[in-house]
Subunit: 413 residues, 2 copies
Amino acid sequence: MSVSRRRILTSGAVLAAGGLSAMRSSAVHAGGAALEIPDSMHEQGSPVLSPAYGLPSKFEKNVVRRIREQRVTDTESFTVTPLQNLHGIITPNGLHFERHHAGVPEISPDQHRLLIHGLVDRPLIFTMDDIMRFPAVSRVHFLECSGNSSTEWKKSGYHSVQKTHGLLSCCEWTGVPLSSVLGEVGLKPEGKWILAEGADGAGMTRSIPMEKALDDAMLAYAQNGEMLRPEQGYPLRLLVPGFEGNMNVKWLRRLKVGDQPWYTREETSRYTNLLANGKAYKFAFAMDVKSVVTFPNADRSFKAPGFYEISGIAWSGRGHITRVDVSVDGGKSWQRASLQNPVLDKCLTRFRLPFNWQGQPVEIQSKAYDNQGWMQPSRSNLIATRGTNPRYHFNAIQGWIVAADGRVTNASI
Amino acid sequence: MSVSRRRILTSGAVLAAGGLSAMRSSAVHAGGAALEIPDSMHEQGSPVLSPAYGLPSKFEKNVVRRIREQRVTDTESFTVTPLQNLHGIITPNGLHFERHHAGVPEISPDQHRLLIHGLVDRPLIFTMDDIMRFPAVSRVHFLECSGNSSTEWKKSGYHSVQKTHGLLSCCEWTGVPLSSVLGEVGLKPEGKWILAEGADGAGMTRSIPMEKALDDAMLAYAQNGEMLRPEQGYPLRLLVPGFEGNMNVKWLRRLKVGDQPWYTREETSRYTNLLANGKAYKFAFAMDVKSVVTFPNADRSFKAPGFYEISGIAWSGRGHITRVDVSVDGGKSWQRASLQNPVLDKCLTRFRLPFNWQGQPVEIQSKAYDNQGWMQPSRSNLIATRGTNPRYHFNAIQGWIVAADGRVTNASI
């Protein structure tokens, strides 16, 4: 089975890239040397079960969640997903972004309880066994912190897409439709809101509108097949698909049904946008239609002129992506990108566009559209509407400048 | 935000399960006590970035890949996926089954090369950078070892679904359509087969029919968003969706185009079924339509009479699942299970059926159908057709007996 230098040379010389005719031919750099038999073929590899729960290659050790900036404590903090290294739409559980208000509690599923009370006929306490006996549903949904890309409001951004857009991940979630469990406790007619409370040290609480609770909200206990990770709310979290990340309350221990929102700390002093006139914009729940190019990026870029595929992700908290346009001239002209199927509701959609780079400086942008009629705005349009006070829901078109040497920088800086 | 015993008691006593009317009400075991404030709410949790690449909860430490039985070496060996603990269709990368012929090589992506030669116009050597510049595609596909459930041919099976069916996993794979790369080297008209060779100590080789290579075969470099795991072929594997697991050659280093199959060791002495007449069945590539119930199982089962959801997975190497029927009386009568959307090609499909268990012994079975007209056979029908010589492609209906105490055993033993 070995391929000797002689065989390669006699079967037709390995050609240099210049000899190929297709547009993408420049992607192929054929070496002149024969293919050596690698060391790996001369020896036994590592045995199975080392470890029994597998980990990435040591060559991928830089593909990790990162802290964007140091905060006062490392429990009221967050980490960002390395979007620049990801492919497709699934985020592996080990790389899902984190946002905690009081760190990650360690909760035994045997001890965990969920109380549902308030304006209900039968207040009930559920064990995890109780919850996992309900009919289940599995769906792929993104989660985005409403503060994702907040750096871009005031051009205080970063060059790394991990730092500008990495408060975003996407998993297959399995759990129980919240409507099933609410049917079990029996809603009183005046119950219009639900307070969701986490079992962490912050007692994280948000008010959820009943319409969402009865639509596609879920009591989620699994992500990407296995039980939730501790930092994603193990053993139980609320999932309100498409809504602000923080409303998907982790370590969920209590749902109280009421007739109005609670105006908790996390929906007044935080997670509320201040408009230009000084008034707060009340309850912006759904994450807006948005997209970002993830290749090229500040870590991986064009290395020489020739064919490349521009790639990125698009999403909408209100429905599914219908179209993504890509510009390579800073928004002067646009081309329609291809969307990877299946295109799912409130889920990342991978888009791709072939690009033959001639080595000139370019500015790459992407613009997403959803099936609810929303279009991703330009930064100037977004600011004209909302001002620069807001910290949340930045969803403007992101530009990346690729210099003649391939270096990628944030166009908004 | 605390919920005192007083508040619970005054808002209406927590009811016992018997007070509920719905069929599924027996799933809810309401306690009489108030919900205590857990310790986790009195303290800060673990900080972010501990670790930067996340791991499952310590309470899930038993959810791991396992060795089914000891083999002569632990490099020519395999581990099985804990299907009894999984939900939805995605297998997290750390739990993807393994099957190695000479262990797991450690290959630097910078050093790795892919040679394509033989009956081609331009033999070429590709670096990983070259390959990753091609237009990419992402698809969710299962992988199944053709020896999966081989224990069931002779009733030498196990009670654990991890051991009977755990040579099966499902990921979102990203890579380059093999047809694109073959277009680059230029196929000669007489090229009808491709030899795929791995860079492991076994030099694992299989012959791939050109029709498959030009259809949906892929040079895959990512699984579930991140780069391949070492034990899945890092940095590059062949993906031939729906075909026997071993044909999806890992650590792929060479593709040779020829005019006929090579009859390598791994497609003659192994991975070929012996029929009852002593002749070998030549080239059974596609994995047959199949399903298995994963809940209840020998590790997690019914605990008391009442409502449960029977759940399992179905798949076909020839297309997509159109229907799964479930029996709770050992195959005498069948009910149609619901299928979780999206139902994808050559991909696991999660099926579910509600079941009100009265505490009697039952035998649960599932039977899958695909869009190519195939139906999962009974064990007796399969053996009538193929005999009991075969070691591969066992796809018969699997029965699980649930005893009155909830204990689950393999009905074929």
